[in-house]
């Protein structure tokens, strides 16, 4: 009996070795370890054995079973591993081939600039306000200290719809509207981005429609040095910590004093070069202390309240920052232009 078991074991191990597929292996398992297999048969004949022999043969039979089973498992694993290896080899791809592009869009450059400026001023405690693009003469001019016939109205020839309604020529009316809504009762700290319109023939530096961002801060004891400090923060965050600002006198009917803000040229840092037309400085925005008449028309006591305002053109800032050479690019919407600014 012992011999028979050893024989069976040898036989089975040879067959396991010879098997090449999982099916063949399964056949071997059924043939040797199945209920009708030879080992089971051997065990059935154990009744005829002596008491002493029975446990010995029993143990041997179990060992043989286990040996065959583990040989089967081992072989199965190796066949599976081989199959997997083969499958993986077949699945190999050329990773240098181009991928399937995901549709990619992005913001318009002007929006990116506007949002960057919004976020910058939000960080300094400003709110963002909006107002109508079609304005009344009152808010666009009169409330900003530009009565009818004022020579400064010449500076911004306008698109009128009726005698009293026009396309706003600047975002400043939002100042007046915001202050009016509060009726001089508390402080205002806001910026206002938006579209504006002027009677200009479209060319490389003019556009009949463009963008402006207006800023306004009215409170008790607002100083001109605060304006200088805030604009300095803005310039450094927007253009780089190494840039300096300077203020020089200018004129706007709604501010007094009025100034223009320049930043030092990034190429020559104030020395003078071809980029800044040898002046060392580049004009960025107009600003000033809110004219007392503007405060009073909006209901503020100009003895108690003072404020500053500033206005800038995102197109100009984009042109300076990215070297865009023609303002019309912003409105032509050539996909090749737009895509250049979809990068972070």
């Amino acid at each position: 009996m012992k011999e028979r078991l050893q024989e069976l074991k040898q036989e089975a191990l040879v067959k396991v070795k010879e098997a090449t597929t999982l099916k063949e292996l399964q056949d071997v398992r059924v043939a040797y370890l199945g209920k009708k297999g030879p080992i089971t048969e051997v065990l059935r004949g154990m009744g005829k054995l002596s008491k002493e022999e029975r446990p010995v043969i029993g143990e041997l039979a179990n060992t043989v079973r286990q040996d065959i089973a583990s040989a089967l498992d081992e072989k199965k694993e190796s066949i599976e591993a081989e199959a997997l290896e083969k499958q993986l080899a077949e699945e190999t791809i050329d990773v240098s081939l181009p991928g399937r592009p995901a549709p990619v869009g992005g913001p318009h450059l002007l929006t990116s600039i506007v949002e960057e400026i919004e976020d910058l001023f939000i960080g300094m405690g400003f709110e963002v306000r909006e107002g109508p693009e079609v304005e009344t003469d009152y808010y666009n001019f009169e409330a900003l200290n530009l009565p009818k016939g004022h020579p400064a109205r010449d500076m911004q020839d306008s698109f009128y719809i009726t005698e009293d309604i026009l396309m706003r020529t600047h975002t400043s009316p939002v100042q007046a509207r915001t202050m009016n809504a509060i009726d001089g009762s508390k402080s205002v700290k806001m910026i206002c981005p938006g579209k504006v319109y002027r009677r200009d023939t479209d060319d490389a530096t003019h556009s009949h429609q463009f963008t402006q961002i207006e800023g306004l801060y009215v409170d008790e004891n607002v100083r001109m040095s605060d304006l200088k400090g805030v604009l300095d923060r803005f310039a450094k965050q927007m253009f780089g910590e190494d840039r300096e600002i300077r203020l020089r006198p200018s004129f706007f009917p709604f501010t007094e004093p009025s100034v223009e803000m320049d930043i030092s040229c990034k190429v020559c840092h104030g020395e003078g070069c071809h980029v800044c037309k040898k002046t060392g400085w580049i004009e960025i925005l107009g600003a000033g202390m809110v004219h007392p008449r503007v405060l009073e028309m909006a209901g503020y006591d100009s003895q108690k309240y003072s404020g500053f305002a500033f206005g800038m053109g995102p197109e100009r800032i984009a042109m300076l920052k990215y070297g865009v050479d023609d303002i019309r690019h912003f409105y032509t919407n050539d996909i090749r232009f737009l895509k250049q600014y979809h990068k972070a």
């Binding site: 318009h108 693009e133 020579p151 203020l247 006198p249």
Partner: protein, 808 residues
């Protein structure tokens, strides 16, 4: 305004600074310097020569052979200028001279004759053509007879001058004069100012014996002065005067005109010289013009006037359009001997109106429009009389015939040191304030920190405290202001919910593959009615157009963002950019009135336009064009991200494909549309298949509930059932879906179409639609029987409502 520094030196000492440094100081302190130009270049070896003889060149018809005395020698020079003549004094470039353009003068032989230099035109000396007096335009320049032989031309012709161009803001009308600029520079550099010495020698005869002045329009003309100058000899002005005019950008004409222009530049006061013999009467009457009254102006144009214009008349006919231009009738000519010189103050508005109506902006009207200095009006007239007597041989009659109701009073403005410091954030002392006022040449009285400033009338712009604040600040120097941050309580800045939501929508669409555009709000009348959404059409009464558009293309306010967006698609397609997916956020403008009298309503829209390939991956043969479902998918996901239910309903809209368009609804309210542009409209834009959407963003923002609520994550299993139905091809999947949802009730979590089929194995006119139903109850495990019952109920309902049969 062009400022000649050589001219300016007559009034202030500026030699301490280079022209560049001076320009920088002027810019930083008061007035922006727009440009700095060397008028000419200093020339050596170019001198005044006397043409001793001038004979025909022996070998050339058009050349002359001249002997020219240049001081220490006499040079033989061949000259081709037509106006060369014996006895002239001319500009001679001697051998060794280098003319502008690096033109080197050498000894040469011209047609066999030796030529030792060149006789020059002004152009050859570097003066711009447009400033060259007409008589010398086509030849050499001839110096006045009294010019010194051998003298260098650089000084004589002012070639070493530097011209700075000032960009003068509307408030600083005082700087439209050399004296104004001189006061400004004196303040900046803290140097004294030298005013011109005015001493007219007059005869005893009185002007008032020859002319009377009567002003009817007194508000528009509070001062009119008429001077009379006899025995005038019209001729060229002295060289220095011509040089200054040229430097200031004005072409010299004759001594009379040049002198009025010179005084205009020096004092900022426009003057006008009439030929008194041609004036037609001995009375000046200033009045409003009559309706339809006609006159010829100096430029020989007939002008039709109205009562809104002011004219200077001789009692019957207009002789000048006040402040703008003289009349042709009494124009000064070479024969003029008697001059009536006008020095007047005209109201800025009336001059502005006339200059605008006749498009006659001039040096004169420009200054009147901004307001001239009352105290310089008569003074300027006297200055001109003095120069006319000196340089035009004039005999000035005594006094002036005048009408005078002008306000000469200087304004007083009070300032306080403490308030100035509070407004500027500075620590300026009383003494410094006093010093600044002294530099500005402003008189003042001081009482401690209180300064009462007597503002000179030349500074019409200063009327209130803040104006003086600016004066103090700019002379103190903006560079000297500290940098501070606002002291007020810390405000919490930020975006409103709606602003945040707009940013969300933009990011979403960008993430979905769309690029943002910014197009014009003003469109053409042809485009404005295209692709207008139904809810806009319903509210619209009239479109809003510009009163005076610059072009038809931008004449009307848009009712939809789409037409201009299609324009940009068209632009890109023409440049071989075929795959475009654009979106834009912007306002449309509708008026609810027949005749627009109020601001139109501005409605915020978000719109998109897509054309070409949506997905391309060539080597995997994957290519998908934009179609309706690409657009719908984007919008469905967008609304899902906003937690808003939106319905798409088949619709037929103008300009849209009748079978590929859906109108969108939220809570049964129309909020826009999506679909393919009608092929006919596509063609007018040269577009291929193009899909668009246009949504009412205001409403979306209005109904958006910002806070998503928490729904429990389901713990019980769901059961999935498929159902394939055969229906008539006209039946919409959406209709069947809503029936399923209705009948299925809360148990049916989702219904999704997973197959649509038409063709083989189906009768003609039929289609099959397969749905996947997901059953789930958040509180328990569903039983098969319940699902089965619901499933049967659904089959019955769709059979009933849509004649749908189960597909076998």
């Amino acid at each position: 305004m062009f400022v000649s520094l050589n001219w300016l030196k007559n009034y202030v000492d500026i030699d301490q600074l280079s022209p560049e440094a001076l320009a920088e100081r002027i810019t930083k302190t008061g007035i922006e310097v727009d440009g700095l130009e060397r008028f000419g270049q200093s020339l050596t070896n170019v001198v005044v020569g006397y043409v001793e003889s001038c004979e025909k060149h022996p070998n050339a018809d058009k050349l002359n052979l001249c002997q020219v005395n240049v001081g220490e020698e006499t040079l033989q020079i061949v000259c081709g200028a037509p106006n060369i003549a014996q006895g002239q004094k001319v500009a001679v470039a001697k051998p060794g001279a280098v003319l502008p353009g690096n033109f080197k003068i050498k000894k040469a032989k011209l047609r066999g004759v030796e030529s030792n230099g060149m006789i020059c035109s002004l152009q050859e000396l570097g003066i711009e053509e447009k400033f060259v007096p007409k008589e010398f335009a086509n030849g050499i320049f001839v110096f006045p007879e009294d010019s010194e032989i051998g003298a260098g031309v650089t000084e004589l012709l002012n070639l070493d001058d530097v011209i700075i161009e000032l960009d003068i803001t509307p408030n600083r009308s005082d700087a439209f004069s050399m004296l104004g600029v001189a006061y400004e520079v004196a303040a900046i550099l803290d140097v004294p100012i030298r005013l011109p010495q005015n001493s007219v020698r007059t005869v005893e005869e009185k002007a008032t014996d020859h002319v009377s002045v009567q002003v009817e329009a007194q508000e528009n003309n509070p001062y009119y002065g008429a001077f009379i100058i006899n025995d005038v000899q019209v001729g060229p002005s002295p060289l220095w005067l011509r040089n200054y005019l040229i430097a200031a950008g004005i072409r010299p004409i004759n001594n009379v005109v040049d002198i009025t222009n010179y005084v205009l530049l020096e004092y900022g006061q426009p003057l006008h010289a009439f030929d008194f013999d041609k004036f037609g009467s001995n009375q000046v009457v200033v009045r409003q013009a009559k309706e339809q009254e006609k006159m010829y102006t100096l430029d020989d144009q007939e002008r039709t006037l109205s009562s809104e214009h002011l004219v200077i008349t001789n009692g019957s006919t207009p002789q000048a359009l006040a402040g703008v231009m003289g009349g042709a009738d009494s124009e000064v000519s070479d024969q003029t001997t008697t001059i009536l010189l006008e020095a007047a103050y005209f109201d800025p508005q009336i001059v502005r109106k006339a200059a605008k109506d006749f498009e006659l902006r001039s040096e004169s009207s420009n200054r009147f429009e901004k307001g001239v200095d009352p105290n310089r009006v008569r003074l300027a007239g006297e200055r001109a009389c003095q120069l006319l007597s000196q340089y035009a041989n004039g005999t000035v009659l005594d006094g002036v015939a005048e009408f005078d109701q002008l306000d000469y009073q200087e304004k007083t403005v009070t300032i306080w040191t403490s308030i100035i410091n509070a407004r500027l954030g500075t620590d300026i002392s009383n003494d410094e304030i006093g010093d600044i006022l002294r530099k500005l040449n402003f008189d003042y009285e001081q009482d401690g920190e209180t300064f009462t400033v007597f503002v000179p009338t030349r500074r019409q712009d200063i009327t209130i405290f803040e104006d003086m604040l600016e004066e103090v600040a700019r002379i103190y120097g903006y560079d000297n202001l500290p940098f501070t941050l606002p002291q007020g309580g810390a405000q919490a800045g930020g975006l409103t919910k709606n602003q945040q939501l707009k940013r969300h929508i933009k990011s979403f669409l960008e993430g979905a593959g769309l690029s943002e555009t910014v197009t014009y709000s003003l469109t053409s009348k042809g485009r404005v009615n295209q692709l207008v959404s139904p809810e806009i059409q319903e509210e619209l009464v009239s479109t809003v157009s510009l009163a005076m558009p610059m072009s038809e293309d931008h004449s009307t306010l848009r009712l939809s963002l789409l037409p201009e967006m299609l324009g940009t698609l068209s632009y890109n397609l023409a440049r071989k950019q075929q795959n475009i997916a654009y979106y834009e956020l912007g306002s449309v403008f509708i008026s609810k009135e027949e005749e627009v009298t109020k601001q139109p309503e501005e409605k915020l829209r978000v719109s998109g336009a897509l054309t070409g390939d949506w997905i391309t991956h060539p080597w995997q043969q994957e290519k998908k064009q934009v179609d309706f479902f690409v657009v719908k998918g984007i919008l469905e996901s967008l609304f899902a991200s906003l937690n808003i239910d939106v319905q798409f309903k088949q619709a037929k809209l103008d300009d849209m494909h009748p079978g590929r368009t859906a109108q969108l609804f939220i809570n049964n309210r129309s909020i826009g549309f999506a679909g393919q542009v009608h092929p006919t409209l596509q063609k007018t834009y040269n577009l291929k298949e193009t899909y668009v959407f246009d949504l009412d963003l205001d409403y979306v923002l209005e109904i958006h509930k910002n806070e998503p609520s928490f729904d429990k994550i389901p713990r019980y299993p769901s059961i999935s059932r498929d159902i394939a139905l055969v229906v008539d091809e006209e039946i919409n999947a959406g209709a069947i879906q809503s029936t399923i949802q209705q009948v299925g009730g809360e148990l049916v979590k989702s219904v999704q179409v997973f197959d649509v089929y038409q063709g083989k194995h189906l009768d003609a006119g039929k289609k099959s639609i397969a749905f996947n139903l997901l059953y789930q109850d958040p509180e328990r495990t569903l039983k098969d029987e319940e699902v089965e019952a619901s499933y049967q109920a659904i089959i019955d309902a769709v059979a009933n409502e849509h004649q749908a049969e189960l597909r076998g």
